[in-house]
Amino acid sequence: MLDVTHAKRFPFYLIVFLGPAVAIYTLFMIYPLLDSLRLSFFTTTQDKREVFNGLGNFSTLFGNSNWAPRFWGALKNNLIFFCVHMVVQNPVGLLIAALLVGSVRGRVFYRTVLFMPTVLSVVIIGFIWQLILSPLWGVTPSILKAVGLGSLFQPWLGLSRSALVTVALISVWQFVGIPMILFYTSLIGIPDELLEASRVDGATKLQVFWRIKFPLLLPMVGIVAVLTFVGNFNAFDLIYTMKGALAGPDFSTDIMGTLFYRTFFGQQLQMGNPTMGATVATMMFLIIAVGVSLYTLWRSRVQTYQL
């Protein structure tokens, strides 16, 4: 009898525990998000009034000859930016993690050093790399010259064909520590019994990695991929620091984040446009939402092993 009434009573302590977080999250995350979604359906008139514009902003963004090239260009550049991370950052992170798990001398040292750039300020990263790659004072041209490859040097950050990949690789350099540490923790979580058993069965080191470790890592590969995706489609600071809000040359480093910033806040003599800015932000939200949904779908289909 007593037990039944007990079960029926609403657990008020949950409100106490969840309340502050939910309140703050609603106020500073959910409300602004919903409000910018709302704003993307409005436009501002001459006399500064907001009027409902339906999907007008979106058709401008996709179809207008001023907006469409910038939007599709930014989306394409963002995809390239993401691909560079997927192709370079995550495999390299995995490789380093795999090497660190083995009995390397100075393991703690390498782990710390490789993770360090991640916690540095983007402004510092941007400054250091611009200096390293600078055609005037950089060490890159002098090193290349010293080994007789001086003619290979190009001002990569300033050429429209190489600027985006260069910035992406700098970002990879900065963030490679994150997949490394995530893969590393997964790898050391694999029980020794499994590895010992496989070795007893006569598996080579490569076989152990691809047949035993990698399948067990698969959930982490998914998590790393989705983190990279979200991070890359929200990226802004490194490009803004190195190339400015106009993301030159010729918008070749322009991604969704810089497009949003320029549209919303304005640039030099260009006045900010909050409604079009909100439209770009909504597109960023939708792209990320689709990406994360695909991940969730994949996660529910893929076979994972519980240890």
Binding site: S65, N66, W67, Q130, L133, S134, P135, L136, W137, P141, F153, Q154, P155, W156, L157, G158, L159, S160, K243, G244, L246, G248, P249, D250, F251, Q267, Q268, L269, Q270, M271
Partner: protein, 417 residues
Amino acid sequence: MKRGLILALAMVLVVCALPVFAQKVTLTIESWRNDDLSIWTDQIIPVFEKQNPDIHLVFNPTSPAEYNGVLNTKLQGGTAGELITARPFDASLLLFQAHNLADLTDLPGMKNFSSVAKSAWITDDGKSVFAVPMASVIHGFFYNKDIFNQLKLKVPVTKAEFMAVLQAIKKDGRYVPLAMGTADMWEAATMGFQNIGPNNWKGETGRTALIKGKEKFTDPAYIKTWTELASWAPFMPDGYQSVKYPDSQQLFTLGKAAIYPTGSWEIPQFEKDATFKLGIFKPPVEKAGDPVYISDHTDIAMGMNAAAKNPAAARKFLQWMTTPEFATLYSNALPGFFTLSNAKITLKDPLANEFLSWRGNSKVTIRNSYQILSRGTPNLENELWSVSAAVINGTLTPAAAGKQIQDGLDQWYKPSM
């Protein structure tokens, strides 16, 4: 004990404040020039207060990036100061149209300013002026006198001489002829296009013709400007595509480059950093003896809060700002920022004085993208940055640049005047 202390403090405050409230009017100046705080409080305000003991001034700057936002909030909340430092063109025009800035057309001292000086703080129809012009920056070329002497070079006057000088420095090989890069893009547009362009489009004639729709960016004067810019590329440092503004500044002040296209605002920094003799020359002209057009770009002015509590005192200060006395004080305190007043003033800084002397023997204009033409989408100023950098980088032809700019302008701008 504690209460007693607070009471005593309050008494002290009241006693201190009483005489101020009793006799003095306090005016607050809103500004983004936080660098100039000591110049205003130590050099400019004391002079005015001495002449007008009944007015007390407080210089209250905000950081440049926050200024527009903070000012708007203050104006809406009714807490903004009486005097408001005004940015050029649309940012201030919007404030005037929103009735935040007072009309100053009938301020007697306004006659001390030319129409070019007032153009940045005037309504489109040219009828109402809403700020006292304070300062402009003048574009030109800095050069390293030591390198010029060493290589026995003559300061160029014509375009042909300019290119010959660049050739000679390049041939010598020890120095970079032209310290400039295109990574930041605004240098290509501001220190390149707007610096040498006025000689081609005849300054104000061309600028106003663009606004009236009588000239287009596809006209020969503009294409020629981009063609000249493109011809600079071989004389710029290796890898200029990724050379940024601070890089070129350092290249020049370290004595590794001979010529630096820029503007008068560099004077204080360059005089501090450079260990060689600095010289300046005007943007080169077609043939010797041609009139020179310089960009004397309006940058800063002072307006009055339309809701000022003491408009009479504020107007008194603004009237003082139109006098030669203020012009001399301000321009000497900030070498490189020149008063827009017609008054003849002398400057102690020789380089600044030389820049200023150009006004007497050349025709002045402002950057052609600033008035009216940068209101629409695509934004003209942004486009000029992008396009001018691309022309120097060799990824866009001058003709294509002109077409892109004019097509963008035609989309939204319908000349009506």
